[in-house]
């Protein structure tokens, strides 16, 4: 309710704003709105999807230049040119995004920066773009009954576009597409293992950013009606970056606040541009060091600081007991679900896996044990597609899946947890589950434009499913909390819940008991058994031998990258090679207690 009131007040204020401004001020406001649109686009790419994009101003320039060229040189009407300009920026955005498929972070930053420089170099030299003088005489966009040559009226056009773009951006961020992008930003590996098509998502991020850039460019061409290279140079790119960083890159509203704030400061210091630049450069440095979430992150930081002062720290939320699944014996029980055939994985000189073969039947709980460094996690990484085996094949559900990308395997019904917990740190617990539960394809995101209601409806359904999962795992009270703030044992449970929420046929658990206390281990055993009873095959890497012995029907023992034993827990425990690997040779099998104790 309060947010709605604020929104309404904001809308009214924005509507009334021109009445209090002189002709220069309204021009400044018009320019600020364009920067705000650019900042939202950059925020989507950098803050939401984690793609360092230093070509946003160049894309902006493409939008403006294409409009200018098409209207002045080809004689097209403004709106036709505008549509073509946005299409052009979409194409350019995709081209700029291509490097993101290969490189990330610093490399991506420098490549996009290089492409931006290439753009300015082109427009400064090309005949078509008017060289250093640029292009003037862009016609006023015509709108029946509205004279858009008035900057007051142009303001309303911009305001409407801005409001729609902001709303659309927020819509994306809060639903399936944006959630997946944020997951990818936090941990691309885990996102991929949960079925997020990382390459498609990266391209989508660049595409979104360039649409915003292109629309900004069109508005700019219509407002200024003159384009020149220096409006789209690197200095303006860094100014835009400063807006996004200072405002808070992970919040679109923050990006807008940053854009407005910085633009106003720049305007106030318009006679001292160097001082303004030194100031905002310094603020960028201070922000990354001391407040990496920017202005938008301040309220949260203040609130949590106050809470810490008062000694309250989310202690209110309690873990509820796990509610077992209804047993649902799969008809496929006993059939082979996974077949690892003579897999070898070599890292430089080291053979992490050496000729490993393994067959897992549907409905089984399989244990994989072995000393540290024996290749267990490497085996999981090969099965789940993170590593490509040097030799050998992996078959999953009757299909050869060797070397498939993790997201393809995930969509084929494979899910996993990680030894060192890979929860999406800046998403809530519920969002972590939602990302896993969401099986929609990223390329279906055209629905955002054409069928937004269906997107909302599906998202509501996802939320319902996620609630069910949280309830079942006793995590309901943690739904809105950040995983990082939770005790380790609960984080482990969230990760398992997330892996199961993806609806897998085969679940890989990598040391799920590490760091858990005795009671938590007991609960874990119960959870894993129930997961299996619901029809999911489980492979579990574990060091806690008690857990393995009680939980698993079969145990595979690895040592030095080779399988040294495979059989029931009791058989394995009496294999001399296993005892050697764990305890050393001085303790022989004869010293071991009888089997009855083994099965407890």
């Amino acid at each position: 309710m309060r947010t709605r009131l604020l929104l309404a007040a904001g809308a009214v204020a924005a509507w009334l704003l021109p009445y209090g401004l002189d002709s220069y001020a309204i021009h400044v406001v018009d320019v600020i709105l364009i920067f705000a649109i650019l900042a939202i686009g950059l925020g989507l790419a950098m803050g939401i999807a984690g793609q360092v994009n230093l070509a946003q101003v160049a894309v902006f320039g493409v939008g403006a230049y294409v409009t200018a060229i098409l209207t002045t040189r080809a004689g097209l009407g403004f709106w036709v040119a505008a549509v073509l300009a946005v299409l052009a920026t979409v194409v350019i955005g995709l081209v700029i995004g291509v490097p993101a498929l290969r490189v990330q972070s610093h490399y991506l930053g420098i490549v996009t920066l290089g492409l931006a420089l290439a753009f300015t170099s082109w427009v400064t030299n090309a005949q078509a773009s008017g060289g250093a003088e640029g292009i003037s005489g862009i016609p006023v966009p015509e709108l029946p009954g509205v004279d858009l040559s008035s900057e007051y009226l142009y303001y309303y056009l911009e305001l409407i576009v801005f409001a729609i773009l902001l709303a659309f951006g927020l819509f994306v961020v809060r639903t399936s597409l944006g959630r997946r992008m944020r997951a990818m930003r936090d941990d691309a590996l885990a996102a991929g293992s949960l079925g997020a098509e990382v390459p498609v998502l990266r391209m989508a991020a660049f595409l979104l950013a360039s649409v915003y850039g292109g629309l900004g460019g069109v508005l700019y061409a219509g407002l200024i009606r003159y384009v020149a290279p220096e409006s789209f140079n690197i200095a303006n790119m860094f100014l835009l970056l400063g807006m996004v960083i200072i405002g808070g890159r992970q919040s679109l509203v923050g990006c807008v606040v940053g854009a407005v704030g910085l633009a106003l400061v720049r305007e106030a210091l318009v006679d001292h541009p160097q001082i303004a630049q030194i100031a905002y450069g310094s603020v960028v440095v201070l922000v990354v060091v001391f407040a990496p979430t920017g202005l938008a992150g301040l309220p949260v930081r203040v609130r949590s600081a106050v809470a810490r002062r008062r000694g309250r720290q989310g202690a209110a939320a309690r873990l509820k007991p796990f509610q077992p699944y209804d047993p649902e014996p799969s008809r496929r029980d006993g059939e082979t679900i996974l077949q690892v055939d003579r897999v070898t994985k070599q890292f430089r000189g080291l053979k992490a896996l050496d000729d490993v073969s393994l067959t897992v039947a549907a409905g089984e709980i399989r244990g994989v044990v072995g000393p540290n460094g024996s290749g267990k996690t490497t085996l999981f990484n090969v099965i789940s597609g993170l590593y490509k085996p040097t030799r050998g094949r992996v078959r999953f559900r009757d299909a050869d899946r060797t070397g498939d990308a993790p997201y393809r395997l995930a969509r084929a019904g494979l899910s996993r947890t990680f030894q060192n917990l890979r929860l999406f740190g800046d998403l809530t617990v519920e969002e972590n589950i939602l990302v896993a539960r969401d099986r929609s394809r990223t390329w279906e995101s055209w629905r955002y434009l054409l069928r937004p209601i269906s997107v909302l409806r599906r998202d509501r359904e996802l939320h319902r499913h996620a609630r069910d999962v949280l309830d079942r795992y006793g995590l309901a009270e943690f739904a809105a909390l950040a995983p990082k703030s939770l005790p380790y044992g609960i984080q482990r449970r969230v990760e398992i819940a997330r892996a199961v929420a993806a609806g897998p046929a085969l679940l890989l658990l990598d040391e799920p008991a590490a760091g858990l206390n005795g009671e938590e281990v007991r609960q874990l055993a119960e959870i894993v058994r129930s997961i299996r009873d619901s029809g999911i095959t489980v492979i579990i890497i574990e060091h806690n031998m008690g857990l393995v012995m009680t939980l698993c029907e079969r145990v595979t023992v690895l040592a030095g990258g080779r399988i040294i034993a495979d059989g029931t827990p009791a058989e394995v425990a009496r294999t001399p090679a296993v005892i050697e690997a764990y305890l050393g040779d001085s303790m022989t099998a004869g010293d071991l207690p009888p089997i009855s104790e083994v099965t407890r």
Binding site: V52, P99, S105, I110, S121, N125, I275
Partner: protein, 289 residues
């Protein structure tokens, strides 16, 4: 053939400057895993400092260079010290932090020296050497010699001194380095200082070759980075080969594409990154990217 060789020679001296810029990038990357986006701006600062001491203060060119290197080295120390809390934690934020410093340096340059550039006369006033019909400017040879000397010194420092070995150790494993008693922060600071010093050396040397303007560093920075990538990031011989290669490429594109030369250079560089992110000569994996 004559034209071909003359074009190569024309590219080599600028290539040597690119190589120096690339060395600075590589050194900082090798020791900290960080790409310093302010590097290009430090080049600009170095170029202005050197030309100011040389032209305005009328100091000998060599002395002007030394002072410029010392001052920019100090700037490098400041950058590292401010960003130290982010080291080994968040490289994306550090990247943005160095961009922030770049913004500040850029503005400082314009505030101090103005937006217009200046031409620096060559400190070597002899006639070009004529070798088998090819004209070679003496200053080009000076640039090559200084770049070669700087490279040799850097290699010796890294391979022969305790501090040099420690700096590399920090890059490979900062925890193990700490355990043997290395002050990781100090080591990074020195890396940053040397990197900035190399940038100033490049900037000072390039003054008489190009026009010194606030935009100088941006172009040099990105080409130096392209050189570093081309050679395999973090590799010192790679930086040299990459620098010379970009210099020659530059020289050819300038001949064939005139104003579009930068465009072509950047596109070639983007394609190379796409095809081989580890560089043409590199074998190190791009594990931090």
């Amino acid at each position: 053939m004559q034209v071909f060789l003359q074009t190569i020679i024309g590219g080599v001296s600028l290539g040597a400057v690119y190589a120096l810029v690339a060395l600075g990038f590589s050194l900082v990357y090798r020791t900290m895993g960080l790409v310093n986006f302010a590097h290009g701006n430090v080049v600009t600062v170095g170029a202005y400092l050197a030309s100011t001491f040389y032209l305005t203060s009328k100091l000998p060119f060599a002395l002007a260079m030394v002072i410029a290197i010392a001052v920019t080295g100090a700037i490098g120390l400041v950058i590292e010290r401010v960003l130290r809390p982010l080291e080994n934690r968040d490289f994306d934020l550090m990247l943005i932090g160095t961009i922030g410093f770049g913004i500040v340096l850029d503005a400082l340059v314009i505030a101090i020296w103005g937006a217009t550039g200046r031409a620096v006369p060559s400190p070597v006033q002899t006639e070009p050497i004529d070798l088998l019909g090819l004209r070679i400017r003496t200053y080009d040879l000076v640039v090559l010699a200084i770049a070669a000397a700087a490279t040799v010194l850097l290699v010796l420092f890294l391979s022969r001194t305790k501090r040099g070995a420690a700096m590399q150790a920090v890059a490979m494993d900062h925890e193990a380095a700490t355990a043997v008693g290395i002050h990781v922060g100090r080591s990074n600071a020195i890396a940053f200082m040397i990197g900035a010093g190399l940038a100033a050396l490049a900037g000072g040397l390039v003054g008489p070759l190009l026009y010194v303007s606030p935009a100088l560093g941006g172009a040099l920075g990105i080409k130096g980075f392209a050189a570093a990538i081309l050679g395999g990031f973090g590799s010192i011989p790679g930086a040299i080969v990459g620098g010379l290669a970009i210099g020659v490429l530059d020289s050819f594109t300038a001949g064939h594409f005139q104003g579009y030369s930068e465009l072509v250079t950047f596109i070639v560089f983007t394609v190379i990154i796409m095809v081989r992110p580890t560089g043409v000569f590199g074998e190190r994996t791009v594990n931090r990217a």
